[in-house]
Each structure stands twice: as C-alpha cells, then as structure tokens.
C-alpha cells in the first residue's frame, strides 16, 4: 500500500484522537475556576480513550497499513497491544476519577498526562522504526514519571517519582546506545531493513552488543531482574491508580517493542538472545517470588509479584516465534486485567492518604466490604494461576510454548516458582477473610518515615476510608470490567488467543520458521 496522506492519518488515528483529547484537557484545565470539579475533563479523557480503543479495533478491518515511510506498521500485532493499552487506560481513568478529586488542584493535568502516556505506548506498539520506538517510549515514560509523583506533598510519592525518573532515564540511555550500535552494524534503524542487513554485516560483534544494550534498556522498563531495583520503591510510593496503569500498559508496550525487535529485527541472532532471555527470566521469577515473601506492604508485595510475572512472560521469549509471541501477547493481556483490578481495589481501600498499607491492615476487609474483599481475592487467585482465571491460561500458554521448544528445565523452574508464589498471595487472602480485627497495627517503619513528611497521614483514621456510594460508582464499574476481563480470559480464552496468534503471525518474518532451528535444552540452562 503506497504511503499517502489519508493512509498516514488512518494508521495513527487512535494516537491522533488521544493527542487532541489531551491537548483539549490541558486547555480546559486553566479555564475552569480553581474550586470547580475536574470530573468533566476526566469524562472527556475516558471518552477519548474509548474512542481510540474502538478505532484501533476497527483498524483490524483495514488490513496491514504501512505509513510514514515504513516507520509505522499497523497490523494485527500492533492492534492487539493497542487494544490492551486502551482498555487499561479506560479502566484506570474510571478508577481514578474520584481519587484526585478534591485532593489536588491540578487533577485535570493528570487526565491529560494519561492520554499523552497512552499515545506514547500505542506508538511504541505500532512502530517499526527504532526512532519512533524511542520517541514513543519517552512520551510514555515522561508522563508516567510525573504521574508517579502526583501527590506532591507526600515525601514517599516524590521519592518514588525521582527514583522512577533517574532509573528510567538511565535505562533509556542504554536503549539508545543499543539503537546506535544497531545503526552502526547495519546502517539503518528500521527494523525490517535491520533484519535484511544483519546477515551481511561486517561487524557482528556490534550487533550482539546492540542486542545486549536493548535488552538491558527494555529490561529496566519491564522491571526484569537484575534491573528491577526501582520497582518496589516506585510502586510503594506512587498513587495506587497510577501504579495500576504503569505496571501494566507501559509494560505491555515495552514487551511489544522487545518482541518485535528481537523476533523480526534480530531473528538471525535468536540463539544468542534466547540464552540472555532465559537467564533474565529465571532471575526475575526467583528474585520476584522470594522478594515478595518478605514484604509487609501490600503494594510492595505486588511490585515483587510484578517482577515475577515479568519473569514468566520473558520465559515465552525462549519459545519458537509463533508460539512465543502469541503466548507473550496473551500473558500481557491477562496480567493487565488482573493487576489493574488488584490496584483498583487498593485505590478504593486505602484512599488518598494511604493510611492502610501493610498486609495486617487488610485484616477483616471482607467483613466490612464483602465485594472488595471478594474481588481482591479473585485477582490474587488469578495471579497464582488458579483455573477459571486469566492467570491460569496465561501461564499455561507460556509454559506450553516453552516446553514445545524443548526448554523443559525453564518451564520446571517457572512451575516451582508459581508454587512459591502461592504462599504470599494466599497469606494476603487469609488475612482479608480473617475476622480478628484487633491485630491491626499500622506502625510499620515505612509508615512512620512517610508520616514525617506528611503529618496529615497520622491524622487519617485507621479504618477503610470509603467515599459516598455515588462517588464510588465509576470505580466499581472499572472493578467490574477488570473482574469480567479476568474471568472471561479464564473461561473463554479462545477469542483473545486467536487474536494473539494472528498477531504473532503478522509480525513474524515469513521465512523465520524455516530459518530458526530450536536450540537444545542443555545449551539454555546449565
């Protein structure tokens, strides 16, 4: 299809919609009087995100579109990730509609930042030009740095924002160096041209270094061990609706980029990067699960659990192209559904000042708020991977794909790790359903430190702060949507899996299946 103006507009229509909505919100924010509610801007953002997701889904009927001199490629693969990102953005916006209301004077900017962040993530998943990938990555990262520190007065929130910013930019430098070395090895930054030029490169060493640098850069973004150090602190300090968003959507986008760069750009070097990914996967699973065992803070525990989930997802990279990409895409969708849901519950339970923090504080949640308790338990069960939840099929497809390519040891390590993971998820569930209300003690060390910078925290009552019922409706709608998505992916995964498979076929080079021979299991894990 030739690159025409209308083609360019059509290919990036979801991004255009979100950009325009974001700019409108930025313009509307200062026009509203200081005391006035910012909710209309929030609804505008939600409408924009729904429209963008819908348009992205509709693009499926237009076939493969190449736009902007082959730097954008809209196909089943990019649309799959864009729809996941769009859905996560809509759900998080619904959940945060009342969160910032009345607590900060600049809530409107938050909605605009979410829209801009979504633009960056969607750009990442549809670019085949590393320059566009870099710009998308930065648009999404810069917006999430700001969102992480949105509770300006609280020391923990600004600290979380700072850590995210410093380590995120550090990672970006690695990613950029990887792109520079790719350019040096092949003379191009277009993934398809890179793939074509790699077999004849004069400097294969540069190409290998480039892969390593790109994996380090993206590894930071998806919080894979050993590049995970920022994750617990950032997730603990950032506002819960923001964590729900930034632990799922940017990760899905980063995995989309990594899958595309590795499987279609660097397909020829697959044996080399597969070993790296296997090591990364084992480290992430073990560090994530063992780290989570020792956490008292619930958000911190979920941060370690998110490192472990990144490990399960990375395991899919060791599989054959078609299997691996489909399994990774499905896993990122199912992880998005359950993790966003869990953080909506935390948003509702802990409120703006977040007095409720540790696992002990969640004791008796099911008694006071049966719906929230049940929903939280459901999402935690899904993270364990209990059948009839999204997490089960996510893990099932990943480990099946890994076994198919012969990496039995990696799959076994993954299964053992899922077993270890049971312990800390179940511990939280038993606390939610236990009745002993007297054991509540919020005097953890981090709470005292956090209270030093924010005196309001001490004054906050030590029960579950709940706004009026009418104010909770959007958040409950979001919760229901996340729970339904988790349940649907666990009961009838076929539709989404078929989409993931067509996505995988769309991005695999036609001859990749013949080119690549599976490497022997012994060479992967010694």
């Amino acid at each position: 299809m030739p690159t025409t103006l209308s083609n360019n507009v059509l290919a990036l229509l979801p991004e255009y919609i979100l950009t325009i909505v974001g700019v409108l919100i930025m313009l509307g924010e200062p026009l509203l009087p200081a005391g006035r509610t910012r909710k209309p801007l929030g609804w505008l953002a939600i409408l924009g995100a729904i429209a963008a997701t819908g348009v992205s889904f509709w693009q499926l009927h237009l076939g493969v579109m190449n736009a902007f001199s082959d730097s954008i490629r809209v196909d089943a693969y990019s649309i799959f990730f864009q729809v996941v990102i769009g859905a996560v953005v809509v759900i998080s916006l619904l959940a945060s509609l009342d969160y910032f209301e009345g607590n900060s004077s600049h809530a409107g900017e938050y909605y605009a930042l979410v829209c801009f962040g979504a633009v960056g993530m969607m750009l990442m998943s549809c670019s085949t030009e590393l320059l566009m990938v870099f710009i998308g990555l930065e648009i999404s990262s810069i917006s999430t740095y700001i969102m992480a520190g949105f509770r300006k007065g609280q020391g923990t929130a600004t600290e979380s924002s700072l850590k995210y910013f410093l380590l995120g930019s550090f990672a970006t430098a690695f990613f950029l160096y990887g792109i520079a070395l790719t350019f040096g090895a092949t003379g191009s930054t277009n993934i398809n041209v890179v793939a074509a030029a790699l077999p004849h490169t004069n400097s294969p060493v540069l190409a290998v270094l480039a892969i390593a640098m790109i994996i380090i850069g993206i590894g930071f973004k998806v919080s894979a061990a050993p590049f995970h150090v920022w994750t617990p602190d950032v997730y603990q300090g950032a506002p819960p609706p923001v964590v729900g968003l930034m632990s799922t959507a940017p990760k899905a986008a980063a995995f989309a980029v990594l899958l595309r760069i590795l499987y279609s750009g660097y397909a020829i070097d697959q044996p080399r990067w597969q070993i790296l990914m296997a090591i990364l996967s084992v480290l992430s699973m073990c560090i994530g699960n063992f780290g989570a065992l020792m956490q008292r803070d619930v958000k911190r525990m979920l941060a370690y659990s998110s490192i472990a989930h990144a490990g399960y997802l990375i395991a899919a990279f060791t599989a054959l192209p078609a299997d691996g990409i489909a399994a990774a895409a499905f896993y990122s969708a199912s992880y998005a559904a359950m993790n966003v849901g869990a953080f909506i519950v935390i948003t509702l339970v802990s409120g703006y000042s977040e007095r409720v923090r540790t696992g002990d504080d969640y004791t008796g949640l099911a008694q006071e708020h049966p719906v929230l308790g049940a929903a939280f338990s459901f999402f935690l069960l899904s993270m364990i991977g209990i059948p009839f939840t999204a997490g089960f099929f996510g893990k099932f497809y990943v480990f099946t794909a890994v076994m198919h390519s012969g990496h039995v040891k990696l799959a076994l390590i993954g299964l053992v790790n899922s077993g270890i993971g049971c312990y800390y998820y179940l511990r939280l569930i038993t606390r939610i359903y236990s009745t002993a209300n007297a054991t509540k003690s919020s005097s953890s060390a981090d709470f005292e430190l956090a209270a030093e910078t924010d005196p309001a925290l001490i004054a906050a009552p030590l029960n579950f702060p709940m706004p009026a019922v009418s104010l909770r409706i959007p958040a409950y709608v979001a919760l229901a949507a996340a729970a339904l998505a988790t349940l649907a992916l666990g009961i009838a995964p076929n539709g989404v899996l078929r989409m993931a498979q067509s996505a995988a076929i769309a991005t695999t080079p036609a001859n990749a299946a013949n080119q690549i021979t599976p490497i022997s299991p012994s060479s992967t894990l010694r």
């Binding site: 870099f134 700001i146 410093l166 520079a180 040096g184």
Partner: protein, 100 residues
Amino acid sequence: MVPIYYYLVLAAILFCIGIGSFLIKRNIITVFMSIELMLNAVNLTFVAFAHAHDNVHGQIFVFFVMVVAAAEAAVGLAIIIAIFRTRQTLDVDSMNLMKN
C-alpha cells in the same frame, strides 16, 4: 583523517564514565548530569556511524535525542525541586523513606 573507531572508543569511554558517576555520585543533580553525559556519548556514536556509513539518518536521530533530553530535563528538574521542597536535601542516600 582521524579513524572512525577513535570516536567510537571515546563515546564508549564517555558512556562508561556516565554509568560510573551515576552509581558513585551522591548528589541528585550530579546523578542527573551523568545521565546527560551518557546520552551525549550516544549522540557521538550516532554521528560517528552516520559519517562512517555516509548516511544522514544517524544525525537526524541525534536531533531527536537532544529534544527528548531537553524534555526529560524539564521534568527531571521539576521532580528534583519537588523533592527538595519536601525533604530539604538532595542527597541520594537520604532517599530511603521506603523500606520494608
């Protein structure tokens, strides 16, 4: 003429100095500056390769990197000011509110 790999080695050294000072330095502003050094090392690599391949793409990339670095600096300095307001210090070691 200076061979191309001189530039590449210089860029690699600059990049490593950036990593080193990112890990060693204790003032947030200095840590931030070391990230800028790493980005500039990448820029040098791009320009060197662009010259070697006789391909202007690498130089275009540098402009984008500079623009993005400027945007990042704006956000980063804002975050650093927010940190200073709440904590009255810019020492990385005192950024330890969150421990288990």
